[in-house]
Amino acid sequence: MTNDKKLFIGFVGLFAIVNAILLGGGYLDMGWTSLGVIVAAGLTISLYSFLYHDNPLFKLAEHIFVGVAAAYIFGIYWYQSLYGEVIVRLFSIGDDPGTTTQRLLLLVPSILGLLILTRLSVKTAWLSRISFAFVVGVGAGFTIPRYISAFVLSQIEPTIRPITMDLDGLNLVLIMIGVISVLVYFFFSVEHRGFVGGVSKVGIWFLMISFGASFGYTIMARLSLLIGRVRFLLDDWLHVM
């Protein structure tokens, strides 16, 4: 018997015993909710087993997850968009308040949407380019003025304030130095040598601090999620908290 098999059988056995105790001790009842908690706990532990190394439990959980997720998204797109926004309106189902113009206009995205599906056949695949052109073109068009406003103008303006002779003024000068040196670091037209090299070195320091900040904050975030998951195992499943 391989190690994998031992692990698999051992885990399933232990898991069954723990759940039997929980059910027998009255911590979990025989309803759907309790069954759900047991399934969720089993999947959680199976996925965590990957931390030890790849094994059949992880593979099983991974593939269940992939399959369920694909159908889950299907449910979302169907009810929220295809049925909820297209079919209901096109066929005036229920008390839908749509007008004829709105109905006719809906034909456009419906046709473009069907064109996307022409990708599935080699002969007709080129038709899907029309839809891609729409998605990419509109996305690009929406982007330009909004990025100028939200990420360029709105970010430049608060940087160029009068510099005062106090702590705020000093911070403002530091922010200015940081913004400029980072911009210089991402200059591609000149080699990083001499003065430019010096400024871009300062840029790297600022970048490193912000990476450190992101790293520190991300550690915080991920631990919070682990706290949530451990709470589920200890409280909802094992009832030891």
């Binding site: 709105s154 992101s214 904050y217 915080m220 631990l223 682990l226 706290i227 998951r229």
Partner: protein
């Protein structure tokens, strides 16, 4: 033992124990709110002073970040309902509605608020930022019905909302792109409504430029931010409790980093000596 290359599974065990043990014990650290969180609190207090205050709360997170985000949602809803602010909630991510409904129902019941009159939930809309443009133009067109399929004009709290500017505050609870790439460029930038947000700790560092430019009026970042908010409204919840495990594991990781560096410098000295 080679400290430079200890098996990573040893670290895994320490992290797990560092989380699990403090959760089962009871001790606490004092909490002091930081400025971005106080600014969120002040925004809600400002709204409470308006006439017929209504806030739009956008749930842009799903269950995978529930441990970080749900405590924030509970805290701001408690604050809003305790100050008689009406709440209209929406979802911009597909797997958010369950959490939103759960939070609204629970906090609504705590304060005896009535669905439809004091708060409403309109459901989920796909399209990332596209619904924001839609809401900025015509709120009823974006949400013809609430999540219970009632026509929007029959939901009293939402009946008089024409567009985003009719809200005294828009508050986004975000676990991904929604603050920086949806609400700010496609909403705030054009329609200029007051905007605040809560987000996972991962995103918080990226949002400081928006705080300074006031595109974002206040920000609650991560479980620590939620704990600070719970402190401000004086209702400790799961975030405050989570701070124990959080503090301990942070110290464990810092200890490991210092250990790693000590081993690194020791090994280097050996080589040079």
């Amino acid at each position: 033992m080679d400290l430079l290359n200890i098996d990573r599974r040893i670290i895994f065990v320490f992290v797990f124990v560092g989380v699990a043990i403090p959760l089962m014990l009871d001790f606490s650290f004092p909490i002091k709110p930081t400025e971005p969180v106080i600014r969120v609190f002040d925004e809600f207090e400002r709204v409470a002073g308006e006439k017929d205050p209504v806030v739009l709360v956008s749930f842009s997170y799903g269950p995978s970040t529930e441990p970080e985000m749900q405590p924030m949602a509970m805290a701001i809803l408690r604050h809003a309902f305790s100050r008689d602010i009406k709440v209209i909630a929406i979802c911009l991510v597909a797997d958010g509605p369950g959490l939103a409904e759960q939070a609204l129902a629970q906090v609504g019941a705590e304060y005896g608020k009535e669905y439809g009159i004091d708060y409403a939930f309109l459901g989920y809309k796909p399209g990332l930022w596209a619904p924001i443009i839609n809401m900025g133009q015509d709120f009823h067109n974006a949400w013809p019905r609430d999540a219970r399929s009632t026509l929007i004009s029959d939901v009293p709290v939402a009946a008089n909302i024409r567009d985003l500017n009719d809200f005294d505050l828009v508050f986004d609870l975000a676990s991904g792109d929604s603050i920086e790439f949806w609400w700010i460029p496609f909403g705030v930038e054009k329609y200029k409504f007051p905007f605040s947000a809560g987000c996972t700790a991962v995103m918080a560092p990226d949002l400081y430029p928006f705080l300074q430019s006031n595109q974002l009026r206040g920000m609650m970042g991560g479980l620590a931010g939620a704990a600070e908010y719970e402190h401000l409204i004086e209702i400790p919840g799961s975030a405050t409790a989570g701070m124990r495990a959080q503090s301990v594991t942070h110290l464990i990781i810092v200890a490991f980093i210092l250990l790693g560096n000590a081993a690194y410098f020791a090994s280097r000295r050996k080589v040079t000596a």
